[in-house]
């Protein structure tokens, strides 16, 4: 099978006699038997570590859970500094978790969770920080300060935890370059290997923010200003 891999500035074509394998297996064959200089990241091989995210035919995938096809074009993630070949610098995307203060602020001791409560943020806590969502996000592509999908999902994970007592403190951190900047285009949802919808989480964070009196700052520019009850008046 023939595949084309983006290496620094040019695409390089590889012809490998193999079929029905994952993209990661193919990359390992190329690396160990054909071209030792090919660089990519991988670790667990079973879709939980988030290391091998990349793009195939312009779509984000985990190399370890994608069956490679003849003619595939393989590229590194977008919206991120490429260190070499398919290896990208995740430091910036990771830094948004700190910026968004995505951790438990203060926990109520008296509240116990039920299986139903557990379901509220079960999916959000499946996130593996692979960065596919940042690669697909058109807002992050033009605004490098946008907190971005996985960090906002993580904030919702903690805000929606019934034990979290610092809801308002958590919401404070995501008003600027955060939930209101998202265009709800849903690209993040489509590429998430864990089936998480950051778009839906952002919508929930907006509703929760509205309950605390936070407002969408973008409405201000429509000239109508705001009514005294906080609702926009067009």
């Amino acid at each position: 099978m023939k595949v084309s891999i983006k290496r620094d500035d040019a695409f390089v074509s590889y012809d490998v006699d193999v079929e029905g394998v994952t993209l990661l297996s193919l990359l390992n064959i190329i690396k160990t038997k054909i071209d030792n200089t090919l660089s990519f990241s991988s670790s667990c091989r079973s879709s939980v570590c988030g290391s091998c995210s990349m793009r195939v035919n312009e779509r984000e995938v985990l190399a370890c859970s994608y069956k490679v096809q003849d003619g595939d074009t393989i590229e590194p993630l977008k919206n991120v500094t490429v260190l070499r070949d398919l290896v990208v610098d995740m430091d910036r995307a990771y830094s948004f978790n700190a910026k968004a203060k995505a951790w438990m602020h203060s926990q109520a001791e008296s509240i116990s969770l039920t299986p139903e409560d557990e379901k509220i943020n079960e999916l959000q806590s499946d996130c593996i920080l692979c960065g596919s969502c940042y690669s697909a996000c058109p807002v992050y592509a033009v605004n490098g300060e946008f907190l971005g999908p996985f960090s906002l999902t993580r904030v919702w994970k903690y805000v929606s935890d019934k034990r979290e007592e610092g809801e308002q403190e958590k919401l404070n951190e995501i008003q600027v370059n955060g939930i209101w900047d998202c265009t709800l285009c849903n690209e993040c949802t489509l590429v998430c290997p864990q089936g998480i919808s950051s778009k839906a989480d952002i919508e929930k964070l907006r509703m929760k923010s509205a309950q605390y009196g936070f407002m969408d700052p973008n409405f201000g520019s429509f000239g109508g200003g705001f009514g005294f009850d906080g609702s926009p008046s067009f």
Binding site: G20, T22, K31, T32, K33, N36, T37, S39, F40, S41, S42, S43, C44, R45, S46, V48, C49, G50, S51, S65, K67, L83, R84, D85, V87, D89, M90, D91, Y94, N97, A98, K101, A102, W103, M104, Q107, S112, L113, T114, P115, D117, E118, N121, E122, S125, D126, C127, I128, L129, R154, K157, Y158, D161, R163, E164
Partner: protein, 506 residues
């Protein structure tokens, strides 16, 4: 000499991050260095759970947890360390719960627990089938809150020791630039994981489990113990060694041979089931895991990952077909010897997690005790490293050879990738589930031979930027040192014990 840190931690899995949080809490300046990123370690692959005798589901006691752990250890454990770990388990789980780990819950709102092999009660607290992942990520979130400095893409070369034979820092290779960096601190904690990748593709582990910290510790003069104890998990996918969780058998899955016959009690301890499978394979049988009778609805609800992985890697759908399996290396009980303060025989060098040997698993680890170990002893290592650092005076490193120096002597005539795979297969065959003295000796000769000719191997990629070819060669060298330790330890233990099974004859 610039000393900016009190404690340097190598490795950012569950053990390393727990150590970091506790060291920081004690007021120390902490630096965490990892060859990956802090959420990509082996810890994220742990599915089963973390043991603590909470008794949420049915009656349980710390004493029962101790007794089960001791029994599984086959007399090769430190009872005091086990008592400490099992006693601290309750605090460990309470702490994880308090920082926001999304444990599964019972209807009464308690932390849910399930029974894993060798446990007398449902004792493993879990978060669906992502227990390790959720613990690791929550620890990472707290590390961000604490403002702890973490540097990714940093490969450990050497542990630096001063004139008093005390640790004084580490030598690191920056993977991104190939720059060699040195960091000084009176305390260094190794939390670098196990060495199952010596078995190469015959292991469930992430490719990073190459024992770098153990090899560096060995070079610095640290003592290793029980290296021969390698746990083989009975059910990994035959072609890819991807783990099929014990829960598949726990839920009622059968093991079958080529004739479609059952041949063992599927719920025996891992070492026993692995040996039973091994015996069948030697007879020429192929081994399959059969979960078809559980039905599609049940499989999709209870074992969705298993279905996905079997389809992906074996091109079979376990709802309708048998899953081809084999036992592969899964967890390494051996490691760096530490005392009750998690300190090695080198002053100021601490170790925790799978790279350390606190002698709590002995010759066979129980499911649910490894996540427990990393949290309990991660804390101990962190706290004790800070205590030590307070009164330690360190000097300049004694000039010692860098483990990178070997590269300049290599000729790259031979392909180390091919040899790495060969060593993995050799180990699987001769230093595997059943061992004989003769076969161990064959393996030893081969490793000695490769080590003697190591300069014939080498690196093809000369780039200074993100050169994974070079990193993988350095890992290969580390694994050769570890391979030698495993064989020597195995040869010096004549009797079968837990995971180390010596056959009397071929």
């Amino acid at each position: 000499m610039k000393v900016e840190y009190d404690v340097i931690i190598i490795g950012a899995g569950g053990a390393g991050l727990t150590a970091a949080l506790n060291a920081k809490k004690e007021g120390a300046e902490v630096l965490v260095l990892t060859k990956e990123y802090p959420t990509r370690s082996q810890t994220c692959m742990a599915q089963g759970g973390i043991n603590a005798a909470l008794g949420s589901v049915s009656k349980d006691s710390v004493d029962a947890h101790i007794a089960n752990t001791l029994k599984s250890a086959h007399g090769e454990a430190d009872e005091e360390a086990i008592r400490f770990m099992c006693g601290e388990a309750l605090n460990a789980v309470a702490w994880l719960d308090s920082i926001g780990v999304c444990f599964s819950r019972t209807k009464e709102g308690k932390i849910a627990q399930r029974t894993l092999g060798g446990a007398s009660a449902p004792r493993a607290c879990y978060a669906q089938d992502y227990t390790g992942l959720k613990i690791l990520h929550t620890l990472y979130d707290k590390v961000l809150e604490a403002g702890i400095e973490v540097q990714s893409d940093r490969f450990l070369l050497d542990i630096l020791v001063d004139i008093n034979s005390s640790v004084c820092g580490v030598r690191i290779l920056d993977i991104r630039s190939s720059e060699v960096l040195e960091f000084n601190a009176p305390s260094v904690i190794l939390a670098t994981g196990g060495y199952s990748r010596v078995y190469d593709k015959n292991s469930t582990n992430a490719t990073a489990s190459t024992g770098d910290g153990i090899a560096a510790a060995l070079r610095a003069g640290a003592k290793l113990i029980d290296m021969e104890f390698v746990q083989f998990h009975p059910t990994a996918l035959k072609n890819s060694s991807i783990l099929i969780s014990e829960s598949a058998r726990g839920e009622g899955g059968y093991l079958l041979n080529s004739q479609g016959k059952r041949f063992t009690n599927e719920l025996d301890p891992r070492d026993a089931v692995s040996r039973a499978i091994h015996t069948e394979i030697l007879k020429g049988e192929e081994i399959f895991l059969d979960i078809r009778h559980l039905g599609e609805a049940f499989i999709d609800e209870g074992l969705p990952q298993e279905r996905k992985l079997a389809k992906l890697y074996e091109n079979i759908d376990p709802v309708y077909e048998l899953i081809p399996v084999k036992p592969v290396a899964h967890y390494t009980m051996g490691g760096i010897a530490v005392d009750h303060k998690s300190q090695t025989n080198i002053a100021g060098l601490f170790a925790c997690g799978e790279c350390a040997n606190h002698r709590v698993h002995g010759a066979n680890r129980l499911g649910g005790n490894s996540l427990l170990e990393i949290v309990v002893f991660g804390k101990e290592a962190g706290v004790n490293a800070v205590e030590y650092a307070k009164s330690a005076n360190i000097n300049e490193a004694v000039e010692r050879k860098s483990s990178l120096d070997i590269l300049s002597a290599t000729t790259n005539e031979l392909d180390f990738y091919a040899k790495r795979e060969e060593v993995g297969d050799l180990f699987y065959k001769y230093v595997g589930i059943v061992r004989t003295k003769e076969e161990l000796q064959v393996a030893k000769n081969e490793i000695t031979n490769i080590k003697a000719n190591i300069t014939n191997y080498g690196v093809s990629d000369s780039s200074k930027v993100y050169n994974t070819n070079r990193i993988e060669f350095l890992e290969f060298i580390n694994m050769l040192d570890i391979a030698e330790s495993i064989i020597n330890a195995a040869l010096s233990r004549d009797e079968s014990c837990g995971a180390h099974f010596m056959a009397r004859e071929l």
